[in-house]
Amino acid sequence: MIDIVDVYKSFGKLEVLKGINLHIDQQEVVCVIGPSGSGKSTLLRCINQLEKVEKGHIYVDGEEVTDPKTDINRVRQKMGMVFQHFNLFPHKTTLENITLAPIKIKGVPKEEAIEMAMSLLRKVGLEDKAHVYPANLSGGQKQRVAIARALAMQPKVMLFDEPTSALDPEMVGEVLAVMKDLALEGMTMVVVTHEMGFAREVGDRVIFMDEGQIVEEGTPEEIFNNPKNSRTQSFLSKVL
């Protein structure tokens, strides 16, 4: 579903990705962990081209997103993105947040878009908040709406960029629960996260990144119980 081939990326003089190779299968849930500044968010943002790569190729669902000739707006519709800071549209209600892109970009008839949005809101447990503005939602509720908004485009992949890092601790669980449901339904997911419990329980594979490289990857079992690389060991000893 996603192929990342020898990707390099710098911000000015700072090299943040140094030759990343990664293949992600359909229906796979890949959790990316690592210290801050290790390049894991940048990698995720490169997948949907919010950041341009300097060198290398990224393919999503058979299309090369790093090729300038590719219509990136069309390919992005296949990838839902969930941000650390939610990025809901504050001037639109919950329902409008979800229906905006399907109606305006995909040309879904309004009635149909609303119906789908309501069923997504039911799925994330927020159907009673359909007509509320984001300012009146809690952090956990905002993030669940953001997930519903991304799902409304019926993506083939969901990208999560530290989706629970900006939340109060008591709200982390409700967001992770929604993500877990999604994983169980067979959604292909790439999750950059600090939630080791989630990575261990839900992830099919865990990637440990440090200093712009993939240092170690394996099943949650392998990474958490039996890390081979010393950097992985030292990172896990600090966070677990």
């Binding site: 949907n48 919010l50 707006n73 069309r74 992005r76 519709q77 990838m79 839902g80 993105m81 941000f83 800071h85 990025n87 809901l88 549209f89 504050p90 001037h91 905006l100 892109a101 305006k104 970009i105 995909k106 953001a146 908004r149 991304a150 485009m153």
Partner: protein, 229 residues
């Protein structure tokens, strides 16, 4: 009440007061022309400013250069000079000789440059994550601007826009130099005939102040409404 009439009776003995009182309808008519010039210039400036602001942020070098040159020129030279240059130097070649039209074009071009900068600042004040969220849903840049960024930017730009309206309203006094019969022009005429400087210019100032203050109060009201929304 009797005292009030006494005061007015006393005032009416003063020559300067008589001049202002007699010319009040003439001044108010001029004030109306001032408002007209301002309103039409602002309408033109808003359209120009929206495009100037958007082009200023464009990735296309040509659009950005045009916007920067336009904004630089009209912010970097005096409006007074722009009015003279346009009315006597440029617009006649386009068959425009009427002072009123020249005045609106000059003030409109000038305010468009300032509004362009207001629009740019307003767009840049919208959180960066909003554009990213819109793009990640598959919107192209124009769709993201139309549906997500501009509807948020407009609330941010309203207070500085009102400020610009007020500034422009006062600046339209400069078009008196090309004989547009607005408030300042009429003040000048009446002064030249009566030499009642304090009374005439005092009255003109008061009329300007009443208009700008009303605009300011209206701005406060709009700002309060937007805040509670």
């Amino acid at each position: 009440m009797a005292e009030l009439w006494g005061i007015i009776g006393g005032l009416s003995e003063i020559r300067g007061f008589q001049v202002v009182w007699e010319n009040l309808p003439y001044f108010l008519e001029g004030a109306l022309i001032t408002i007209e010039v301002t309103a039409l210039s602002v309408a033109m400036g808003m359209v120009l400013g929206l495009f100037a602001g958007l082009f200023r942020l464009s990735h296309r070098v040509l659009l950005r250069s045009v916007a920067i040159a336009y904004i630089d020129f009209f912010r970097g030279t005096p409006l007074f000079v722009q009015i003279l240059l346009l009315h006597f130097g440029i617009l006649p070649y386009f068959g425009i000789n009427e002072a009123f039209t020249s005045a609106i074009i000059a003030c409109g071009l000038n305010s468009g440059a300032y509004i362009g900068e207001i629009v740019r600042a307003g767009i840049q004040a919208v959180d960066k994550g909003q554009m990213e969220a819109a793009r990640s849903l598959g919107m192209n840049e124009r769709q993201a601007m139309t549906y997500v960024i501009l509807p948020q930017a407009y609330k941010i730009v309203i207070p500085p826009l009102i400020n610009e309206f007020i500034a422009l309203l006062k600046d339209t006094s400069l078009v008196s130099t090309i004989a547009v019969a607005e408030l300042t022009y009429r003040g000048n005429l009446v002064y030249a005939n009566t030499y009642q400087a304090a009374w005439v210019w005092g009255a003109v100032a008061v009329i300007y102040f009443i208009i700008t203050k009303s605009l300011g109060l209206f701005g406060d009201y709009v700002e309060r409404r937007l805040k509670t929304e």
